[in-house]
Symmetry: C2
Subunit: 268 residues, 2 copies
């Protein structure tokens, strides 16, 4: 089975039914898996050179997941070898005053990739049906309305040439506990620690349920979700890198054709 | 002498008096120099992690130089190891219709780095006193007016916390000829070849003169120019990486202080 099929959510997918500790692509040898990630990251970087040169497709990678699920780590380990010329990483935080005066897709649309560009969303418009729902800032009717709007928005993006890939980095509640404790133990990591993360953790079940709703409602062949078992960092990287590489390879990218008018050009 | 002093333009600097083939930092052994570049690029990437975490300073790297002078190559070789989270590369092309309806610094200001961010300008507002002057779209009075505006703009940036470093990648006319011929010889590189480059080459001397004027008028301790001998790619990388690393090290970057309130926090 292709990776890009294997990690798609099944019909009536439930976050809680999927195992965050799964390692389906692992060789069983962690050192070997790490080398595999490096090799995949290098191949992705090489294909991105062609992607940039071809200057046709637009690629959006959406990373979603609970705090500590490894969104930053994925950017660094899987996409960190890409030439900065052709990649852009956008972290969506709580909306600013000006952003709040617009519809919730306004700031998202502005950051979309241009031709030849790969853009990574570290959090995204999905927060507008996740944190907002969990805290009861919006009700279920509004969630349904937004999910329909997001489906329409992503279909338009796809129809106008953007490849949209959405990754749900799935960690278990125990694994999050461990990672939060690790951050507390290392003073150099305190800057990453927001007491708000503890508050959000209290709503763990509500988040799992909101993710389940969002993923089922917006998974589509033209804007697929991938459910990534993310308790192991190496394995998370391995799965995401395998999917991204497969999709880039499937694009049959090529350098633009040679220009015949250059053939007899003399530089003086 | 510090690198960041060594490569500053002398008083009444003239582009034509400086040797594009110079290799002052070379060990004399190209393979060794390449390894040195890789090591420096790695150190820059590591310091950028702290720069990002500290979330205080803003760093702007401006790359200017004739076609084929190695602006893209510098981004890849010197800055390509940096985590995409904290770096952004912006290529300024001919202004769009909307950009032309604003002042020439409008689109520049929008792309400035935020706290913790490193931004690379691949061409910049300097084109507005270079190509524009060479083609007589503006006269000398307007050049002088703009140079004063640029000085004011960059002083404001510096006073408000942006470190502005400007690199002039200096290649010789012969070296450009060689690189353009290399691009013609390799069909996979034709996409990089714009016949306009040949047109611009005809104005070589006018460009050298416009660069001389711009560099002299806008070199300042708070927004320094560095003149990089760029006929050798490896040496160009070595010099730029040495300067960038020295300046990052000089910032005495540190992770934000530990948060005492986390000390006795229990995760449940």
């Amino acid at each position: 089975m292709k990776f890009s099929t294997q990690f798609r959510p099944k019909k009536s997918f439930k976050v809680n039914d999927s195992d965050a500790g799964d390692k389906p692509l692992s060789s069983g040898d962690k050192a070997k898996d790490k080398l595999a990630v490096d090799a995949l990251a290098q191949q992705i970087a090489e294909l991105q050179n062609v992607f940039y040169a071809a200057h046709k497709r637009k690629l959006l990678l959406v990373l979603q997941g609970m705090d500590t699920s490894g969104k930053d780590g994925t950017v660094k380990d899987v996409l960190g070898r890409i030439d900065p010329l052709g990649i852009r990483s956008v972290a969506f935080k709580a909306p600013t005053t000006i952003e709040k005066e617009h519809d919730y897709l306004w700031r998202i649309h502005r950051e979309m990739p241009a031709q030849g560009e790969i853009v990574i969303f570290n959090r995204s418009h999905y927060e507008d049906v996740l944190i907002t729902r969990v805290h009861d800032w919006i009700n279920d009717d509004e969630v349904q309305r937004r999910l329909a709007q997001i489906r329409d928005f992503e279909r338009m993006l796809s129809e106008t040439g953007t490849v949209v890939l959405k990754f749900f980095l799935h960690i278990s509640k125990d694994q999050q506990k461990k990672r939060l404790e690790d951050r507390i133990a290392d003073p150099d990591k305190h800057w990453k620690f927001d007491l708000q993360d503890i508050e959000e953790r209290k709503s763990w079940d509500a988040y799992q349920s909101a993710y389940t709703t969002a993923i089922n409602a917006t998974d589509a062949d033209h804007a697929p979700w991938f459910v990534i078992p993310a308790d192991s960092k190496t394995h998370r990287n391995l799965v995401i890198a395998s999917i991204v590489l497969e999709i880039l390879e499937g694009m049959k990218l090529a350098y633009p054709p040679a220009k015949p008018e250059l053939k007899d050009l003399k530089i003086i």
